[in-house]
């Protein structure tokens, strides 16, 4: 580890910290008030888009209506992305003449991009036409992020709205949230970011792949495409699906250390800003900063552990008697160990899943960090929307535990947390490990699971565990040696991604619906404050206890045992 390496992390975090308030305030303004920018230009566009969707008057929705809208939209999203892949050979913008994508892979990709996971069982440059990349994948990069944002808003509204005399039961309008998040937030930021990326060397064209004769006379074919437009929303929407197989390690996706920093910032931008938005919604911004502080603590723990682990030598290279300064297998020279481990931490803290280095080739403990980040529930800033509703579910749990300790009914923002709320919170907490560990256990013992492994020994188990963790956590990064393009893996991971998205969103919305009608109790001397250091500490403890204890046994058989075997010089 070097001072310069650490400065890079600190510079990144300082920028996140500086951007949180302006971004959060802007999100609050466009999503929660009527004082939106450029009302004479964008106002008619917004209303026009809603009218085209068939929403002439925005009506407030109950949690059930909100969830039904979300699920119906997601259903057409899955069907749309599936259909595009199946007929891409018939569509224009396919200069390489790529054939139709097979049914299992098309299902997996449709589930993946709709659920904001962006797991990729395919290599983009050899599988997806430009039409599929734009119409299918870029579309869902926007749509899934906007939908996630909507769910977070709905939960925050459930927590913060005061019931009227007749008892208010509504959480906003899904279609309004979807359109406004796209129009005022995702599109403008993406256009600016995409043009910046092009200026730095990220390609953006619709030309066929380009053949050159290299200096030594070999043939090299350069894969082309509309990369920058997808790159921008891939990071901003915490999607993470690369245009190319190598994702943000590919020089055409992430050519310089500066684009790398901007990509990192785009990942955390909206999730960090949303903590401030939430604070504004509660009427006390300290509520948001308390969440921000908990997230930041966990971020630094991961960043430090990852950087320290990857600064060690790779045991597999020991016998080659080379001068090792950190583990460079799978890392790009322009990023080195520091920027690669920072990226690995940020991309798994947030449920982004883009990679600028190959996590599969990290040291055992270096690979453990991304796994643990995901196991904590994607709440360390987390996905766009998903991070905020995830950490609020953890906050409900923390408030409940605090209530148990002092022996009174817990309240959160003055609303009583009772049996129904706790059942929904526990449902949310339990679905996650159940699907991950259940499917990993199956894959580890059947040949359809193990025949796809790229590494033997404990690292093979890590590949399996990583895949299902990434799927259910809607992250999308991978120990990419695993050959996931088989019927078993495509279907298993497809199901796990849908479960991790929708089986968890429904309890969130139900909880919001249950809270929104509750009376607000004035804080008394026994009220546990949710805006202070004590709460932040308790929240971090709850996140660590729930996540770490659930997954420790599985991790001890994968990366932890691999660490000791590697240190002893064992290879498989």
């Amino acid at each position: 580890m070097t001072l310069i390496g650490w400065s890079q992390t600190l510079l990144f975090f300082a920028l996140v910290l500086a951007l949180t308030k302006p971004v959060g305030a802007y999100l609050f303004r466009v999503l929660e008030t009527d004082a939106r920018p450029l009302p004479r230009v964008l106002g008619p566009v917004e209303r026009g888009l809603l009218r085209l969707c068939g929403v002439s008057r925005e009506e407030e929705q109950t949690w059930g209506q909100y969830a039904a809208s979300l699920l119906a939209f997601s259903l057409f999203s899955v069907l749309g992305v599936y259909a595009l892949q199946r007929v891409q050979h018939l569509l224009p913008f396919n200069p390489q003449g790529l054939p139709a994508v097979g049914p299992e892979l098309a299902f997996n990709t449709a589930a993946s991009f709709t659920s904001n996971t962006n797991w990729q069982s395919y290599a983009g440059e050899s599988t997806m036409s430009y039409a599929t990349q734009m119409l299918g994948l870029t579309w869902q990069n926007f749509a899934s992020a906007a939908a996630g944002l909507g769910v977070a808003l709905a939960l925050a509204r459930g927590l913060t709205r005061r019931p009227g005399p007749e008892g208010r039961k509504t959480l906003g309008n899904f279609w309004g949230d979807l359109v406004r998040a796209t129009l005022y937030v995702l599109l403008p930021l993406s256009i600016v970011a995409a043009l910046f990326f092009v200026s730095q060397g990220v390609i953006q064209n619709l030309a066929p792949y380009h053949g050159v004769d290299t200096v030594e006379g070999a043939k090299q074919t350069l894969a082309f495409g509309p990369v920058a437009s997808q790159e921008a929303i891939k990071m901003l929407g915490t999607n993470g699906g690369g245009f190319f197989n190598a994702n943000s390690a590919h020089p055409f996706e992430n050519p310089t250390p500066l684009t790398n920093l901007v990509q990192l910032l785009l990942i955390f931008l909206l999730p960090a800003g949303l903590t401030y938005t939430y604070g504004r919604m509660t009427g006390d911004t300290r509520q948001g900063w308390a969440l921000f502080a908990a997230m930041s603590l966990l971020f630094f723990a991961g960043a430090g552990a990852s950087y320290a682990a990857e600064s060690q030598a790779n045991p597999a290279l020991a016998a080659a008697a080379v001068a090792q300064d950190g583990n460079l297998e799978g890392k790009e020279t322009r990023f080195g160990v520091a920027a690669s481990t920072l990226f690995a931490t940020v991309t798994t803290d947030a449920s982004c899943g883009a990679v600028n280095s190959m996590h599969d080739s990290f040291t055992a403990l270096g690979g453990l960090v991304p796994l643990v980040n995901m196991h904590l529930g994607e709440v360390i800033f987390g996905g766009v929307g998903a991070g905020l509703y995830g950490i609020l579910m953890m906050a409900v749990l923390a408030v409940f535990i605090a209530g148990l300790m002092v022996g009174r009914t817990p309240e959160f923002l003055g609303k009583k947390i009772e049996a129904r709320e706790m059942k929904l919170a526990m449902l949310y907490v339990l679905i996650f490990p159940l699907v991950i560990l259940g499917l990993s256990a199956v894959a580890a013992v059947i040949p359809q699971g193990t025949s796809s492994l790229n590494n033997a020994g404990p690292h093979g188990l890590s590949e399996i565990l990583y895949a299902f963790t990434s799927g259910v956590a809607n992250n999308g990064s991978a120990f990419a040696g695993l050959n996931a393009n088989t019927p078993f893996w495509n279907l298993g991971l497809g199901v796990s991604m849908l479960a991790g998205r929708f089986l968890m969103m429904v309890p969130v919305l139900a909880l919001a619906g249950s809270l929104v009608g509750k009376k607000v109790v004035a804080p008394g001397p026994g009220t546990f404050p949710t805006q202070g250091v004590l709460f932040t500490g308790l929240l971090v403890s709850v996140i660590l206890i729930v996540g770490a204890l659930t997954f420790f046994p599985a991790l001890s058989l994968g990366p932890i045992v691999e660490h000791f075997l590697g240190a002893a010089g064992k290879v498989y």
Binding site: N205, V215, I233, F244, A339, S357, G367
Partner: protein, 218 residues
């Protein structure tokens, strides 16, 4: 329920057209107008004006009079339609064997090199298309390249140093040398090497290039 489905269908079409058609096409139009060179792959030409690749995409170099890049796991090596890392883990026997073989080859081809082999020259990059090596890894190859070209190693070292890109703002990323750009600069300064297997210009004692493919794919 039916009305919800109908709205959902219409919203799907509306968002698809807006973000899947208009947005990428608009960005393509602006990018082609504003940054045409970058948007189309930052292609570079050699001294004869021949297009030889992209400044951003690594390509294979095996001849002794050229600086060599890191190992590539993209296809059969630097296949820019099959970007990939090796994805071999820290307890992988394959990785150990590959690294040992690469290190032996490098030691054999670089008898005059100072010190042990830099690890990055036996470690495959993440994309398989990494265009860079570190300044140390480039300088390590100077004795071989200088001998193959029959020029003073000090002049070659000076050229390498002039090609080093530092950290952005002094903080971001790592210092690096673009292998393609460096080799083109070598040809400009010390005479363009003809196409293989010609003897490098002025080489007193040509070192025979050893066959070197990429890494086996996974």
């Amino acid at each position: 329920m039916v009305s919800t489905l109908l709205v959902a269908l219409r919203a799907s079409v509306v968002t698809l057209v807006l973000t899947g058609v208009l947005y990428p096409l608009a960005v393509t139009g602006m990018a082609q107008g504003l940054f045409s060179k970058e948007a189309n792959g930052s292609l570079v030409r050699d001294g004869q004006g021949r297009e030889v690749g992209s400044a951003l995409i690594g390509q294979g170099f095996t001849r002794p009079d050229y600086f060599q890049p890191r190992p590539s796991a993209a296809g059969q090596g630097f296949d820019a339609t099959a970007s990939s890392g090796s994805n071999l883990g820290p307890t992988s026997q394959k990785l150990r064997e590959r690294a040992v073989a690469e290190a032996e080859r490098l030691r054999r081809e670089n008898p005059g090199a100072p010190g042990p082999v830099p690890a990055e020259l036996v470690a495959a990059s993440g994309s398989g298309l990494d265009p860079h090596v570190s300044p140390e890894a480039a300088l390590w190859q100077v004795p071989r390249v200088a001998r193959a070209r029959g020029v003073d190693p000090a002049r070659v070292s000076a050229l390498v140093r002039s090609q080093v890109e530092g950290r952005t703002f002094g903080v971001l990323g790592e210092p690096r040398v673009n292998v393609l750009t460096l080799n083109l600069a070598m040809d400009r300064q010390f005479g363009g090497a003809a196409s293989p297997p010609a003897t490098p210009l002025g080489a007193a004692e040509p070192v025979s290039p050893s066959p070197r493919g990429g890494l086996p794919g996974r």
